[in-house]
Point group: C2
Chain length 338, copies 2
């Protein structure tokens, strides 16, 4: 019988934690034990898993004893506090926050792109921002054939990227619209229903938001291209699940749209949906609940001789978070690293 | 007493027609007579205007006798048929469709940008696509100081740009979501509620949609830069009113974000909303019902030494259509061209 692992999930009651449990079951991740951790407030909740139920415990420094993997998708503060404790307890921490991503000792991994980076781990690994993951999955296979020289990415990000409170806020504001009632934003600085917010995360002195900066910094780290020019505008849209990106990429040499399509059709984890005559293209509504990153609207950029424009949608909770985390663990298991 | 004009509105019962009447009243356009025209189906409807009501008439080739201005915002077929008839009847046709925009005899005008072009009219003038107008209003004043060499524009376009049927469709799909009922798309090829459609208008062989092509072709014509490199991805979003754009512009020389802000603060029709510390930036919800084009999120593009990134929102029915049409008429009146 193959090896099995003790897994602890910090943030087990959140959107990503919930999806994590679903995906772990779907993929039959070789579990010996599963510990569900959350804040004091959620402790005692019973969560169905497999044929039984698991009681949620409050996370404490002692929670990670005997764990092989600790998945963390809670607050940044929780990631900061618990990842080193999990590592010191001998577990491998796989973290969903932005806290560790730029740490040189922490591999930032999208298995389809830079699986080899897991080998350099020192107990903590990070998964990228949920908009960066689909982007690098489309860029990396093209970059291997024709060097990417510049990327413009404008995002259309769903509220689930923020968490449960934001999903409830969009629901509530939609109910209020339905009842012709005024609503007051809590989670976001402004209304999100039937509106757009060109702000995700806080602002930096450069005028970019941290979310936009993350897309640049994380893409560079994952692709091992520390100077790659990339500019993003990140926008929150009134969609529940699924992040989308309008991308304009410049390459060292011209790239035919047909060749880009062929490369992406072969790219692991990417599905090309690109049949204009059938109005077939990626959309968040279709990507939600699915594993692949969907790419379409692939065309030669009229504004640049070596440019390609495209459109990407993917499930930000699955490939953008929970699935990617489990794939990292699977990769480490396959490589005998744990 | 100053001169007054006979005005006919084709498409008077549509979204743009309705807004047109509101704006004509607000701005006290010097009306002698006002004829409201629509399809046979809407004929007989009574529409309030000023202190009275006007009865809608079916549009016929004889409708334009005695008219000084004929505003057309109906179907492309109506624009194609009626603009020449209006012109031949001695009126000035100001058309909202894409039918006439690329005709070399037809000035395509945003008065804040290329008012002088009205002088060359031969009886038909066109207003641009509702995403192009806010874009050129921000590009043109910058271009005068520092030549624009390339533009990437990704749009976030509201359903009102499609017309009344699309507004009703988003409402209906939201009602259905509220009632947990399945809904079937009619106006769009896919659901628009809580979704994004990376398709506006039909596809061309290049892989661009006609809407995207219009943004390139119309920007070039308005700015008198027939070769300007511009690539757009146009996306429909679940917003009722207000089109937004994420824009990345390259200039001949570096441009400081502060200087761009100063130039746009002086630009006619543009309001800069750019206070990150207050989460102040353009949003469609705030732009709806207002005349200006709002620009914000202005920053130096990290991916290009001469680049600027910004974010624009504006009311697609007002400045994107009805207001721009009235401003063209006002410009012609001011110049004594009518």
């Amino acid at each position: 019988m193959s090896k099995q692992y003790n897994v602890a999930v910090v943030g087990a009651t959140g959107i990503v934690g919930t999806e994590f449990l679903k995906i772990a079951a779907e993929r039959r991740f070789p579990l010996k034990g599963l510990k569900l951790l959350a804040t004091e407030r959620s402790a005692g909740k019973r969560i169905p898993f497999g044929e039984g139920e698991i009681t949620v415990e409050a996370t404490t420094p002692g929670s990670f004893k005997g764990a092989d993997f600790v998945f963390i998708s809670a607050s940044s503060a929780a990631s900061k506090e618990y990842a080193p404790i999990a590592r010191d307890a001998g577990a491998i921490a796989i973290d969903d926050s932005s806290v560790w991503r730029q740490d040189p000792d922490v591999p930032l991994v999208v298995p389809e792109v830079n699986a080899d980076d897991v080998a350099g781990h020192k107990g903590i690994l990070a998964i990228p921002n949920c908009s960066t993951t689909p982007l690098v999955m489309c860029l990396a296979p093209l970059h291997r054939l024709n060097r990417v020289t510049r990327v413009i990415a404008d995002t259309y990000q769903s509220v689930s990227g923020t968490g449960t409170a934001a999903v409830l806020e969009l629901e509530e504001q939609t109910h209020d619209w339905e009842r012709k009632r005024e609503s007051v934003p809590h989670t976001y600085p402004h209304h999100i229903a039937f509106n757009l917010l060109p702000q995700i995360d806080t602002f930096m002195d450069s005028g970019y938001t941290k979310e936009e900066w993350k897309m640049t910094a994380e893409t560079r780290k994952i692709m091992h291209e520390p100077e790659l020019p990339l500019s993003a505008t990140c926008v929150r849209v009134p969609v529940f699940i699924g992040h989308s990106l309008a991308v304009h990429v410049e390459f060292e040499r011209p790239f035919r749209a047909g060749d880009v399509r062929d490369v992406l059709r072969q790219a692991p984890g990417v599905v090309v949906q690109d049949e204009p005559s059938l109005s077939l293209y990626p959309m968040p509504r279709d990507a939600a609940g699915k594993d692949p990153v969907f790419a379409g609207r692939i065309r030669e950029d009229v504004s640049s001789p070596n440019g390609i424009a495209m459109w990407i949608s993917s499930d930000n909770i699955r490939k953008g978070a929970a699935l990617n985390a489990i794939q990292i663990a699977e990769e480490m298991v396959a490589r005998g690293l744990v």
